[in-house]
Amino acid sequence: MANMTLIEALLMAMDEELARDERVFITGEDVGKRGGVFRATQGLYEKYGATRVIDSPLAELSIVAIGIGAAMAELRPICEIQFADYIHPAFNQIVNEAAKTYYRSDGQWRVPLTIRTPYGGGIGGGLYHSQSVESFFAHVPGLKVVIPSTPHDAKGLLKSAVRDPNPVLFFEPKKGYRAIKGEVPETDYTVPIGPARIAREGRDISVFAYGMMAHYAVIAAEKVAREDGIDAEVVDLRTLLPVDKQAILDSVKKTGKALVVYEDNLTMGYGAEVAAIIADEAFEFLDGPVKRLAGPDVPAMPFSHSMQEFFMVNPDKIAAAIRDLTAY
């Protein structure tokens, strides 16, 4: 075990997968000599060479499309989109191509592709370095959508993504790249794509979150436990598609209260689906309305610090929402 940051765990996962499987390669903007603008691939170019760690042209569509073609040829590409905000030029390649290839070929061609990209705000990134785009892709059967919130899960889930025979979108909470630390085994372990994780057990209320918000939700839960005696359960969803419905239902049936937290815009965000699952299959267990705490419905996160903080969900806002719903 080693204590490390989330981004160090991601680097360790990629290093191990490159060493384990000759078919694995990495491409993206600045992933080579520079080691990635966030340094997620630092040292890999020196270790594995320019054939396996490839600086791509500055064009996201083809970063993904090259990955699709190479994956159909049974390599195991890890494609990095430098910021989730820049994934939109590749939207067609992901949604119309990668997601539909297995289906449209009657199961003949598969696309074992991993697309890694940092998402989320609160880092002074303004409109185009702060976006949360997971809901677009969580709407697309054929894709898997994964968002870790701990270094342990980051490493284990990324290794699962690389080994998965399907296209996996792997969103990384960039505000947590260095802020989130934890114990990470140096062994070759995986965390399966699919199951959610109970990040904190509790009896009074269920908080559903993922990525940075799962990390914040645990902080908020500890705060309300200390200050208000509220025993909140935090469910870290980890995989958004396919969703772990059973974990959601089990938790809400125990607590009777559900708060869904995400930093994307509120409307049509991922929390809407979680709320719908609960309304559909756990209605009679509810002791209050299903509440969503999310970003405001504005086009994107502003650059100015004051407006950015207004937009961002944080532990204090989550704690306040927990108190309100618990008191209902």
């Binding site: 699709i68 159909m72 119309n96 009657d106 061609w109």
Partner: protein
């Protein structure tokens, strides 16, 4: 890295091969014509035609290692698909969307050719999206060779990736990004643009300000060639050189086959609204099958008796494929739910 119009001496091909090329062109035409009839009879709902493109596609198919090299086709590649190894029955099953459709199990519209066994890749209907994916396939070929995972001379392995599209599709950004990768990484790839003058109704001068699609090759640092797409032997020569370039580490080639779509874009189109009958009739005089037939007859390779034999054989194959496909059951409705995710390994 020049753009050039080649007029190579014709490659020596055996009479047997020449006749096989003729046969494949003829079979494609007769299958295609039957699809139009079936549509007019109300037996199928959609057809997109390759009539007029047979020389471009057959010349291309015969120049590569068929069934081994990756081919990422577009919806007009009926002759190409047949020449690589799919059958008239395969096409008809796709046309009727019946059980046994080997392309997509009835999920895709017709003419979305696919065969994992033959390394034909199932495409979408979004034009040019297959071009950067083909660069990815070519990238994988080069990767395996560079890493020592395969022998570059091993002809049982894919050694190039071929993709096809129409000239209108070259307006897409996907095309640019794909060729850019091909150039930067010196990929074993051929991009065959079948320039048939119209993208549905929009003529080439509304798509691009250059005279030839292949003129753009210099922007990617690759070789560009324009060729008479209605001359199957000229097509073969150009494609053969492009294939040898790819096999020998010489990088990608952009081939532009100048041809003409002799039918409307699809069974839903009416080309009388955007082009004159006189223009269509002029191009029919350059019908690629008639031209090749005249050549083979003049060379004493093809006789009228042999033509009659081929016609009878084509009619039998098309009849049998049509009848079998029409009689085949439709997929189970629940097949809608299959093949969303590939199962995990182990």
């Amino acid at each position: 890295m020049s753009t050039e119009t080649l007029a190579l001496p014709r490659t020596q091909l055996s009479e047997e091969t020449l006749l096989e090329m003729y046969w494949m062109m003829l079979l494609s035409r007769r299958v295609d014509e039957r699809a139009w009839v079936l549509h007019r009879q109300g037996k199928i709902t959609f057809h997109v035609s390759a009539i007029g493109h047979e020389a471009a596609q057959i010349g291309a198919a015969f120049a590569i290692n068929r069934g081994v090299d990756y081919v990422n086709p577009y919806y007009r590649d009926l002759a190409l698909s047949l020449a690589i190894g799919t059958t008239a029955l395969d096409f008809m099953l796709g046309l009727f969307a019946k059980v046994g459709d080997p392309f997509s199990g009835g999920r895709q519209m017709p003419s979305h050719f696919n065969s994992h066994r033959l390394n034909i890749i199932s495409g979408s209907s979004v034009v040019a999206s297959q071009v950067p994916q083909t660069s990815g396939l070519a990238f994988a070929i080069k990767y395996r060779q560079t890493q020592g995972m395969v022998d570059p001379k091993d002809t049982s392995q894919p050694r190039l990736a071929l993709t096809c599209l129409g000239e209108g599709s070259t307006s897409q950004g996907d095309w640019h990004e794909g060729l850019n990768w091909a150039g930067v990484h010196h990929l074993p790839m051929i991009c065959l643009v079948q320039n048939n003058v119209y993208a549905i109704s929009v003529p080439i001068q509304s798509q691009m300000a250059v005279k030839n699609v292949a003129d753009r090759a210099s922007a990617y640092g690759i070789v560009g060639v324009t060729v008479d797409g209605n001359d199957v032997l000229a097509m073969y020569d150009v494609m053969k050189e492009a294939a040898e370039r790819a096999y020998n580490g010489g990088g990608a080639t952009l081939v532009e086959a100048k041809t003409y779509r002799m039918t409307p874009h699809s069974s839903d189109d009416d080309d009388r609204s955007y082009r004159t009958r006189e223009e269509v009739e002029e191009w029919k005089k350059k019908d690629p099958i008639s031209r090749f037939q005249s050549y083979l007859q003049a060379e004493g390779i093809l006789t009228q008796a042999l033509i009659d034999d081929y016609e009878a054989r084509a009619r039998d194959e098309v009849d049998a494929a049509h009848k079998t496909a029409e009689a085949a059951p439709s997929p189970a409705p629940e097949d809608t739910l299959g093949d969303v995710y590939a199962p995990l390994e182990d």
